[in-house]
């Protein structure tokens, strides 16, 4: 059996050309609407940009918080856009997603997001954005190829506070990083209190 194809985001390779933004509009499941994100980091200080597709969480927060059970996951682990008949447009998913991916679109009145071109990937084709991306900042292919040919390494574990999120999509990060941690407390020197409650306790102890 051949090696499965996986999705990789390599932000350092993004050239900001927006080919992905236009290609997303060609996706057969939502042709005419682009749902990919292309972030301009800080144009005044850098030319760096970064693309953001849905990370396709193993346990998707968006689906967990959906009160209408409108967000479904395919057997392959692809998290789909909201089901039109079920979506109530509450934007819970928009708020809950740790990666800021889902968008509420007023015209169809539903949440739209990247479904990894499910019509293509489910029949062995590559997603639009990762096919056209001219600098392979978005890449869909075998992991072995990425590991053999790229600097950095793919990562798919992210820690937000105490919550660990594992994703189907990988982000390529510099060597030596095993997990993305989005909590300042985890980065400060040892022995410091970690939670707000700890800080409050420590502060009140000093007062007395």
């Amino acid at each position: 059996m051949s090696e499965p194809l996986e999705f990789f985001i390599d932000p350092m390779r993004c050239i900001g050309c927006q080919a992905c933004v236009s290609a997303c509009r060609e996706c057969g499941t939502h042709r005419g609407t682009s749902v990919i994100h292309l972030e301009v980091i800080d144009r005044m200080r850098t030319i760096q940009t970064t693309p953001m597709v849905c990370m396709h969480c193993v346990d998707p927060t968006c689906a967990e918080v959906c009160p209408a059970d409108a967000i479904k996951q395919t057997p392959e682990g692809v998290v789909l856009s909201s089901l039109k008949p079920r979506c109530i447009g509450c934007e819970n998913c928009v708020i809950a997603c740790p990666f800021g991916v889902p968008k509420y679109d007023a015209l169809p009145d539903q949440m739209m997001k990247c479904d990894q071109c499910y019509d293509r990937t489910s029949i062995g084709l590559r997603p639009w954005c990762a096919t056209v991306c001219p600098s392979r900042a978005l890449y869909f292919g075998p992991r072995s190829q990425v590991e053999a040919q790229r600097r950095g390494k793919p990562l798919n574990r992210f820690r937000f506070g105490n919550e660990v999120v594992e994703t189907k999509v990988n982000i390529i990060v510099p060597e030596g990083v095993d997990e993305f941690v989005f909590d300042v407390a985890a980065h400060i020197s040892e022995g410091m209190p970690h939670s707000v409650a700890d800080l409050a306790l420590a502060a009140s102890a000093e007062d007395h």
Binding site: C17, A19, G32, M44, I47, Q48, T131, V132, P134, R136
Partner: protein, 740 residues
Amino acid sequence: MADLPAPENQIIERFGPHAAYVPVGGWGAASDPDRRVPSHCCFCGQQCGMILLVKDNVIVGLEPWEEFPFNHGMLCPKGVNRYLQSGHPDRLRAPLVRAPNGFQETTWDDALDRVARAVRQIQAEHGRDAFAMLSGASLITEKAYLAGKFARLALKTRNIDYNGRLCMVSAAAASKKAFGIDRSANPWSDILLAECILIAGSNTAECSPITTDYVWRARDSGAHVIVVDPRLTPIARTADVYLPVRPGRDAALLNGMLHVLIQEDLLDHTFIRERTTGFEQVKEAVSHYPPAVAAEIAGVHAEDLVRAARLWGEAKTSFALHARGIEHHIQGVENCAAVINLVLATGRIGRPGCGYGTITGQGNGQGGREHGQKCDQLPGMRDIEDPAAREYIARVWGVHPDEIPHQGLTAVEIFEAIDRSEIRGLLSISFNPLVSLPDAGFIRNCLRKLDFYCAIDFFLSETARHADVVLAGSTQEEEEGIVTSVEGRVIHIRQAVEPPGQARQDTRILCDLAERLGAGDKFRFRSTREILDELRVASRGGLADYYGITYEKIDRQMGVFWPCPELDHPGTPRLFEDGRFYTGDGRAHFIPVTWHPPAEDTDEEYPIVLTSGRVVAHYLSGNQTRRIGPLLDQTPNPYVEIHPQLAAQLGVADGEPVRITSRRGSIVLPASVVTTIRPDTVFIPYHWGGRQSVNILTIRALDPVSKIPEYKICAVKLEKAAAGAVPAAEIASLSPRHHV
């Protein structure tokens, strides 16, 4: 009289630009196409493969063509959106003639008769060379070949030139001098094998996006990347050495690098001795550029320059790439020669992973400059003043050699001759000089002086608005043909659709005109295949030998690299593999270069350097891409990039209007305040016309050899402008998006 026939806003309302967002037939049309046509993007010299989806004679979508070996399905936003020019509401569908209140449609017979009559009248009164032709490097090679033949045999004028004069000619002249041939020396796959990559004056990520992947794949394998550019572009962001050269100082910087190579003996002496000439003269020339001096002139750190030279010198394989950034100068040819000197000094050419190339910009930037639409050239990259070449081509064309006119004027010189009233009539095809030539105010005045102007185009360009007759021509996808990509790979453009309405294929228009001008017997082509067959013979034995290239062979091989002299010849992906060059003595020629200042250096009154270039969403003068909604939305208007230090001096914040003034004119644009540009330099993208055109400011100074204009540097002053002073975009008020 080539003034506007109606107020410009009325012309714009009727002919656009309108912004198209949705394919004809709606978003669903592509799900059930009539045909899937493998072809190529029309929007730059990379010529990415893509599959066009056709329904009811309109291209309604695309599919990536992952099997095509250059781009493997990769595309930039221009490629993804190119199908939106098919069935576009602005498309010219019938010939037009100037009328009291604008343009009115007419019959082909009437339109062609008018053109023929004007040609005859002007030439009878003022001589044959008083009628000039301007053609384009986006045209398929069959059209380019036909344009050259049409000018020489039907118009019988020496004055034909093409808009590649604004792009590739500096690199072409340097390559001809140094290597005896004008083509990138290697397939791009050699970039992947290079240990060091030098990129000089190329905003690779925006202007040739696919090349970025080649460079970065090499980098991932350990290659070092050196980028020379006054702007910190995406390719420069991760370079090992970034040299932010002050515009107009490239030759000094490159000479400084060679100085280091000589001082530290990082040379290939065997190669220099056995394969080249002229090294001693170059050694003498660069002796005046020790790193400290070179760095001082170039405005970079000397230690960075030395580091770059060592990375280049110590590598075992390397690839040098350059583009308009070093070529758009009055020293453009010499700048290219200075890069070539680095290649030759280290002997890294003609082997795997050892390469050199200019990154051509236009759709057929390479093929469009090989087969006779340049004023100094006959098919096969032959010199028009070479008696043997004239005799050979005369035989192919069935004329006496004396019937072939001699060398004519280059593009800008043609306008200067119009200004002097020496040229009185003009025919253009796919060339928009009012937007693309420097010193736009001068060009506009020239258009007014013409007795007669005919434009062949498929959208009414800014220049075509001034025409007496507009002939509704064809787009790339409406005729079968070949183009030659940045690598020297000849590829096959399949016809995907027929021209809409009464619009006609460009080749038919030229042949019909030739008939009316009495040269019909030389233009009895029933298809572009017949034109290619004649071109193959005409190119045979020339430098750019296409004799062995056919549509079928291209399809079989996924492209054929020229030279390809026989039908059973596989083509030549890598040049100079046998150690021989195409020069008379078979050796590569070093060319000594001495840096000199630009035509218009900064001074107290005009203290800032202006440079110009592309953005990724637009192509050339924007006549096509400013009509494609998603591309227009991506970059709707030009702006001026200013470093925060300069912005602080001017008291300008990001987004505020700035007046930029040169000795030729003045425009107001919003400031884009960015740290990614030298503080002594400002940048404006060039894809817009009217009051948004950077070419109102640029200087009409030419390289003495290539006659390329010095777009990349002139002197300007900046001041904060009043709120609301930024001109509105020249776009029709009712764009189709309002209808969907």
